[in-house]
Subunit: 226 residues, 2 copies
């Protein structure tokens, strides 16, 4: 059953654990996200890198390391499986939804399902709590499927799973000019920290520290270090 | 050999991988950090929690999961071992250094060493790079040992190790009013991102999402979801 390009009536969304068969769609969705954020110059992902970093052998337990989830939309009801993290029934009877890209995003799970979004998250650590938390690196829905409660379902389901497995907090980032997103997150109960800034070393600025651990003592002998 | 409370002449600093014997000092140092940040109301760490979360059995490879490092100061030269991440020789011949707390921080490695700081870091993930990075959650030096290049050595050594094992970036946070720290990090080559804000769900605001994954479909049936 091929994926339709127009959806009407009832549609069933499932947020599920991804596996290696989802790599091509995850790649395409990350690229769409880079386009949306006008950051394609930073895009350096490949199928092979995604495969080896997100789906290593052996695969760690979900949420214990880098974890990829995929959002599938199905024209028929979906039975929850061990892979299901969240679900939502959409009622499109008032107006059908056109998804011109649907043919490019058939879910590897078949049955006419279409992949429409993804989440990448991983554990972080709070030393004050001495507990792991969950950091949500990406949460993305393709354009035709936005503003239908899917983002809320995805974040709620991920937060719920984190709470259920004993994690102390769930964190993610938002741009300070994106007031709609800030309002949405605050409405979900999140605190937005205004004082903290992220610092990053990358590229050549990072590479120059290669060997710094072994070099620092010698460097100080020569009187060059601070 | 007991730890001295005053240091003079040459002193050798070693940043090394921590093990379970370091838990009591790591606990005390996290508490000092909470005091320094006026955040003791958020402090909920215990020896048992630190032990089970930082030093699980089996212990993952360093930097592949939550990783604790300890800074030891030694009155005699330290030979680098497999646990050594960075080192620095300090010359205190111009003026001795008093460390009144030294007796409370004898290093479990003995030989008159004193524990004076710690780092907690863990891998994060960049989907644009499809690569792990390293997030530095904490980097802390006890007050008497500050402003002697130890923080720079610690961050340089950790960044160097991250670069050597193929991580794409190293990230951490700074408070926006801490211009000294911002200048220091920028001087080390870091970019400080001014537009991103951290969002956090924790405590009761997080707990209310327990069961959200399984509940969302039913909730929508009842017409309550967005």
């Amino acid at each position: 059953m091929a994926a339709p390009t127009s959806f009407s009536g009832e549609v069933w969304a499932e947020l599920r654990l991804a596996d290696a068969r989802d790599v091509p769609h995850i790649y395409s969705l990350i690229h769409q996200m880079a386009e949306f954020e006008l950051l394609t110059d930073l895009f350096a992902a490949t199928h092979d890198l995604l495969h080896s970093t997100l789906f290593p052998t052996p695969q760690p337990a979900p949420f214990a390391s880098f974890t990829a989830l995929v959002l599938d939309l199905s024209p028929s009801p979906v039975s929850a499986s061990a892979d299901t993290i969240g679900s939502l029934r959409l009622d499109l009877s008032a107006s059908p939804l056109a998804d011109p890209e649907a043919a490019a995003f058939p879910s590897p799970r078949g049955a006419g399902r279409v992949t429409a979004g993804f989440v990448i998250c991983f554990p972080n650590y709070s030393s004050f709590l001495a507990k792991p938390g969950l950091y949500v690196e990406d949460i993305f829905v393709r354009a035709p499927w936005r503003h239908r409660g899917l983002g809320r379902m995805m974040l709620s389901a991920v937060a719920g799973r984190a709470a259920e497995i004993g994690m102390g907090r769930v964190e993610w980032c938002v741009l300070d000019w994106n007031q709609n997103a800030i309002d949405f997150y605050e409405g979900m109960g999140a605190e937005v920290f205004t004082k903290w800034r992220i610092c990053r070393l990358t590229g050549p600025a990072l590479d120059k520290y290669k060997g710094a651990g072994s070099a620092s003592q010698e460097e100080h002998h020569a009187g060059k270090a601070e």
